[in-house]
Structure formats: C-alpha cells, structure tokens
C-alpha cells in the first residue's frame, strides 16, 4: 500500500470532480473490497474519494412504483428494508446470502456491484492476470479453475463475478444510475456488468470518474414471486459455486413473466434469456423447465476443474423454478 490522499466529498459533483482531479482515484464506499485489494497490492490508488457521507443512503419509492436504492445504502439496511422484503424478496435474500453480518453492515449497494472477482490469481500480484495486468496472461485458464466461469469466458479471462446482489438485480431488470463529469446516465445492470472478451480489465461499462448514485428496481409484474438460492462450500460466509435468482409470474398456469439469472458461472450475472424465451407462454412442467435449462446451458464450456458447475446450476435452477411454480 502506497501513501494515499483522501477527500471527503460533500456532494456528488464534488466527488466526481475530485475523482477526475488528482491522480489515480478510487471512490471509497464501505471499502470492504477496496481496502482488501489495497492491502494485496491489487489496487494502488493515489486518491481516495470518500462518498459515504453523500446523501445517497436512502431507499425511496418512485411515483411509477419503482424502488430507488441509493448507492451508499448499507447492504444490511437494504436487505432489511420493508419495501424491499415485501416486493423484491429475491433481492433481500441475495444480499443476506452474501458475506457476513459485519461486512453487510458496511458494504454498499454500489460497491457490491463494483466488487472485483475473487479469482486467486487476480488477487496475487505475482501471478499472470489479464484483468490486473492486461497482456500478462491468464493463469487460471490452465491452472486451478475450480471456482471459475463456464459461460461467456474468453481466452483472456475466466473469472466470475462474486456478487450475490448483482444476480438478483439482473433477474429483476434493475437499472444502474450513474453520475459523471459529463452528466448522468442509466444503464441496465445486465449491460453495466460485462463479459471479459478481449478487455478483461474492464468489469463494467463505467467511465473514468463516473459514480454509481443509485440502482432502480422497476416494479415487478403484479402477482409475481421471486427467490434466490446459492450453493456453496460451507453453510454460510462463502462465495457461490453457483446461484440462481428468479422472478416468476404465472397466469392460468402459464408463464407470463420470467426473469432468471445465474451467479457464479460467468464474468457477470448470467441472464438466462434463452431459457426464459423457451418457457414464456408455456406451462413450467419439470420437463419443460429441464429442456429450457438445458438449452440455456448448452453453450457452457467448462474448464478442467469446474464441469460440476453446469449440472449444479441446472439442478439449482430447476429447484428454484419448481418451488416458485408451486407458490405462484
């Protein structure tokens, strides 16, 4: 960790200006991942712009029924929020299944989306990693890749996105609001987080200096049910081997809305568009669900150590969809 200067921003404008102003800057939210990575030497900022005292810590209902989650709302406050628990159980469950009580008390909505992969090679500055040092190679490709991606990876990077929250946000079609030196914009979370392709150093489409100010959850179709489930190596306090977020609405026994996303499988939450299309307008019988999931996962390309993820994700999704069908 090299010496670093510190700015406590008093407004969004001040934050983005400070970020743009001096040296290599990072926004400091909860810091649970940033400080972790600074200690590992992976992040080497020259300026920290503390955004935790910006007025972005509210969960607000919008006139159109959407829910606007401030970027600095702490994960535990988010998960406990009555409106979120009532209307978006999948999001609350996803938050609660991640990290620990202590970490959730500090980590923020925006920071959760921006957390970096837990790929062990990425975290070790002595190992090749295209995400950390573009062009240095991907040690995980032929290394220990038990925890890595089976979908959407590239020869340059096989890392997965570690967030549980992001998977639920992908399933509910959440939109990320950004402020930047050049003004604001809104990006669907499924586009905000990106696949590695040949630019694995970019986890998101965020531009230099841009700040997440909020995540907006559009209203879910009336009568829809939702759930998050993850599989992991210990019963709590572990990242997902695979996870599933689903929002389902049935009308007369037929699927009229489905949002389905996988975690732990790819460089970003994997929105299962193919499976959704296959099930839309159909009765979600176990056979139909199995066919849809097989179609979705047909494009999986497992690595040496992680073929288990494909069948695990498939069974996890089948279970979640089955249980939602029973309650919808």
């Amino acid at each position: 960790m090299k010496p670093v200067s510190y700015v406590r921003a008093r407004s969004v404008e001040e934050a983005t200006a400070a970020h743009a102003g001096r040296g290599e800057a990072r926004y400091l939210g909860g810091g649970t991942n940033l400080v972790d990575l600074m200690k590992l030497g992976v992040e080497r900022p020259e300026v920290l712009v503390d955004i935790t005292r910006l007025p972005l810590d509210q969960v607000e209902e919008q006139p159109d029924g959407a829910l606007r989650l401030g970027a600095t709302v702490r994960n535990s406050d988010l998960a406990a929020h009555p409106l979120l628990r009532d209307r978006y159980p999948v999001v609350s469950q996803a938050v609660l299944s991640g990290a620990s009580g202590q970490l959730r008390n500090v980590a923020t909505t925006g920071g959760n989306l921006l957390q970096r992969t837990r790929c062990a090679y990425f975290q070790d500055v002595s190992k090749p990693c295209n995400k950390r040092v573009p062009g240095s190679g991907c040690a995980a490709l032929d290394g220990v890749n038990h925890d890595h991606a089976v979908l959407g990876h590239s020869p340059h990077c096989v890392a997965t996105h570690p967030s549980d929250l992001a998977v639920a946000l992908a399933a509910v079609d959440a939109v990320v609001e950004l402020a930047g030196p050049g003004g604001g914009r809104a990006v669907p979370v499924t586009d905000f987080l990106r696949l590695p392709e040949d630019v694995p150093e970019r986890d998101t489409v965020i531009s230099h200096g841009e700040l997440i100010t909020a995540v907006v959850l559009p209203p879910l179709p009336p009568g829809s049910v939702s759930r998050y489930r993850k599989a992991r190596e210990r019963a709590s306090y572990a990242f997902a081997l695979a996870s599933v977020a689903a929002v389902l609405r049935l009308e007369d026994g037929v699927v009229s809305h489905l949002g389905l996303a996988f975690g732990g499988l790819a460089h970003r939450p994997w929105r299962a568009r193919r499976a959704e299309a296959a099930l839309l307008g159909a009765r979600p019988t176990p056979e139909a669900v199995a066919r849809a999931l097989d179609a979705e996962l047909a494009e999986a390309v497992p690595l040496r150590d992680n073929a288990y993820k494909v069948s695990l994700a498939r069974d996890l999704a089948a279970q979640v969809l089955g249980s939602l069908t029973a309650t919808a």
Binding site: G30, K39, R85, Q102, N105, S236
Partner: protein, 205 residues
C-alpha cells in the same frame, strides 16, 4: 501524538449516529495523513493518522487497545469485530480516516456498554460460564459480533434463514439456526461454536 481527553461519559457509550460533518476540514490536497477524532469506549481521541491506517491498527498499535484481534486482516475471520456507531463491523477493513466522528466500542468497553454493575457484560459472563472459547483469540470478535447481532435481531433485521413470513419490523426470535447463521462471520478454529451459541442463548433467556 494522541490526545486522550479524559471525558469518560457513561451515556456516550450508547450508539449515536454521527453527524454528517464532524471533525476537522479536509486535509490539504495531496496530504497522506489527516487528523481524526474518535470516541473509543467513551474516551475521546484526536490523532493524526496515515490514510492507510485501518481502524484495527489504530486501536492496536496507537491506542494500545489490543483486545480487538488481527486474524486475517481481510474481513475473512471476524476476530477484529468492533461496534461502530452501534453496528458490528470488521475493523480491519475500515480506514481510520473515514471513521472521523465515530463512536467505537471494543471488547474492552463492552462491560461499560452493559451499564450494569460488575466488571463484565452479561455475555462475557455467559462465555465464562459456558467455556465458550479456548485460545481466546476469536473471543473479542465473537463477543462484539454477538452484542451487535442481538441488537439487529431485536430491531427485526432478517438473516438468510429468517422465515420470509416473519413480521416486518418485529423482533426476530433467535433459534439456534438463527444464531449460527448470524454469527457465521466469526470463525473459531478451536471449535467452540456449540458453546458460544449456548452462551448467546443464555443472555437471551
């Protein structure tokens, strides 16, 4: 270097949400140290900190409060857990400079937090009664975490194992499963978990 004002206020040991703009102004552009003011276990400290200094290192190396432990330094074990503004947090991942104005309670301040007579918080007493530790290195974190956790449950905050039908806003009934899930951020390699859960149950009862 450290100025400890001997303003030990019992009431101030309660959690108070810090005001948005406490403490001194920004450090000069490019400075790598700042002055921060903290209350720790009821005592005020104003001190110059390197911006890289974590709250944990400030407590242990500067304020001689070594009760908070460094087990991993990366938020992976919970041994460093303290209460900041009443909430349990991993002090190893908090930069001290960002905690300016915060109210911190460490294991050394738990007894005062309870505000009762005696030298120990009821949970500390329960840990002794249940032999809820062996080497003792995770113990301060377990204690601070459990104290924070009890408050969270009282306020109705759900956990991953809370029944979704649980009434919003009402206190969560802490079953063994709830306690275990909520304390899972505190690792114990001596395997004292069953006794820790018993101790927590003792103070709920």
């Amino acid at each position: 270097m450290d100025s400890s004002e001997e303003s030990h206020a019992g009431a101030s040991a309660q959690a108070v949400r810090h005001a948005p703009w406490p403490g001194p102004a920004d450090s000069p552009a490019g400075a790598t140290e700042s002055r921060v003011a903290l209350r720790v276990n009821g005592f005020s400290h104003t001190t110059e900190v390197d911006h890289r200094t974590t709250l944990l290192d400030l407590l242990r190396e500067r304020l001689a409060l070594t009760g908070s432990k460094k087990g991993c330094d990366h938020g992976q074990c919970g041994a460093c857990t303290v209460l900041v503004d009443g909430r349990r947090v991993n002090s190893c991942l908090l930069l001290a400079v960002a905690q300016d104005g915060a109210e911190v309670v460490t294991v050394e301040g738990l007894a005062d937090l309870a505000g009762e007579d005696g030298d120990l918080h009821p949970l500390q007493r329960a840990f002794l009664d249940r032999d809820a530790f062996q080497c003792g290195y995770c113990t301060p974190g377990q204690l601070c975490s459990a104290v924070g956790m009890l408050e969270e449950a009282r306020a109705g905050a759900p956990s991953a194992v809370t029944d979704p039908q649980q009434g919003l806003g009402s206190a969560v009934r802490l079953t063994g499963e709830e306690i275990r899930e909520r304390l899972s951020g505190n690792l114990c390699r001596c395997g004292a978990y069953p006794h820790i859960v018993e101790a927590v149950r003792d103070v709920i009862a």
